[in-house]
Assembly symmetry: C2
Homo-oligomer: 226 residues x 2
Amino acid sequence: MTKPCIICVAITGSLPKKADNPAVPITISEQIESTQQAFEAGATIAHCHVRNDDETTTSDPEKFGLLLDGLRKHCPGMIVQLSTGGRSGAGHARGGMLSLRPDMASLSVGSNNFPTRVYENPPDLVDWLASEMKKYGVKPEIEAFDLSHIHKAAEMNRDGRIPGKLYVQFVMGVKNAMPADRDTFDYYIKTVERLAPGAEWCAAGIGRHQAEINEWCISSGGHTRT
Amino acid sequence: MTKPCIICVAITGSLPKKADNPAVPITISEQIESTQQAFEAGATIAHCHVRNDDETTTSDPEKFGLLLDGLRKHCPGMIVQLSTGGRSGAGHARGGMLSLRPDMASLSVGSNNFPTRVYENPPDLVDWLASEMKKYGVKPEIEAFDLSHIHKAAEMNRDGRIPGKLYVQFVMGVKNAMPADRDTFDYYIKTVERLAPGAEWCAAGIGRHQAEINEWCISSGGHTRT
Ligand SMILES: [Zn+2]
Ligand SMILES: [Zn+2]
Ligand SMILES: [Zn+2]
Ligand SMILES: [Zn+2]
């Protein structure tokens, strides 16, 4: 079951700031430049967050639009995935960029704890985000922070709320959510194959777990994220 | 690995009302009477919620105190477990009854979706509830609504926030949380045995799933809930 490895690059993320790491691209032009480098090195998917001028995260559709235009121009053929994650906004503001019709967007289908708070994805917001993605032809990447999120995504796939083949990302190593645990990783794959045959999956480890999880991905035939 | 079966009876719960089922015990004296019947029929643990006069749920320590006294008198030796669940209150109010020193109390260690909302158990509240249980010698029953909750409980057990042998209840069949899935049930048991050897576990299915899950419990050596 080895598949060609798709390399997914997460530009900027929602947390690091210039003060933590001066190399983090913050402005749209820095982001485009850095993604272009990854694209030329073989990355095929760009997972994107955008920032305000003060480096705080935002879901501003105008910023996302500028980034999307730049990436389409400088990285032709690259799959652009915009984040609808809750660190960047609340409620329907989280999906305001979906009408830009990016190739993909992240979609959380359940709630869980984060290091210091609850990551809230109430059922009606999940349904609304999924329906906006369906309306604009945006493929969701399911952010599975826990096992039940895989069950929920498979249910939404079966009943048509998420059309087509499911694409699931396992997120591991976030404090108070799922740790980077190999046995769980293997069970996640087994569950995806059981509940949504033919689905694709990838995995993201947070911080120091990224390298470890990339190895697990490669050895199990999934995609990797850098 | 068959153990003697402990029968756990959930009196009242947090949802049903007299209008749904006239047999639901609502007042403290109805609850005591109904638990005594279950006790005489062999139940050894009573999982308890309390209600206001208008049947809405509450965490009122005075009501819990009356119930606890009644159960100690009418069901001598029965293990009384009080609910700290979020349907009955918010924040520290959820743990106000712990100073009554019941034998056990329920403890959620993560957040997840419920049918129409987020079940919020933020990390600082989880830590506070666990520390109150430790302070008053109350044994927590971990309410595992998802796989990461088992990991979190094992972590808190290792670092002493939850002392002694872990006692975990798998909650399945709640819409938007974990469905009643046999493969997951078996993996939950495997995970408890791997991360917290010697831990006890039981399982609760919601509504129509209860009978099914009781059968899985009995066939796998866990406790059952009626
Ligand atoms: Zn990915
Ligand atoms: Zn992201
Ligand atoms: Zn129980
Ligand atoms: Zn309960």
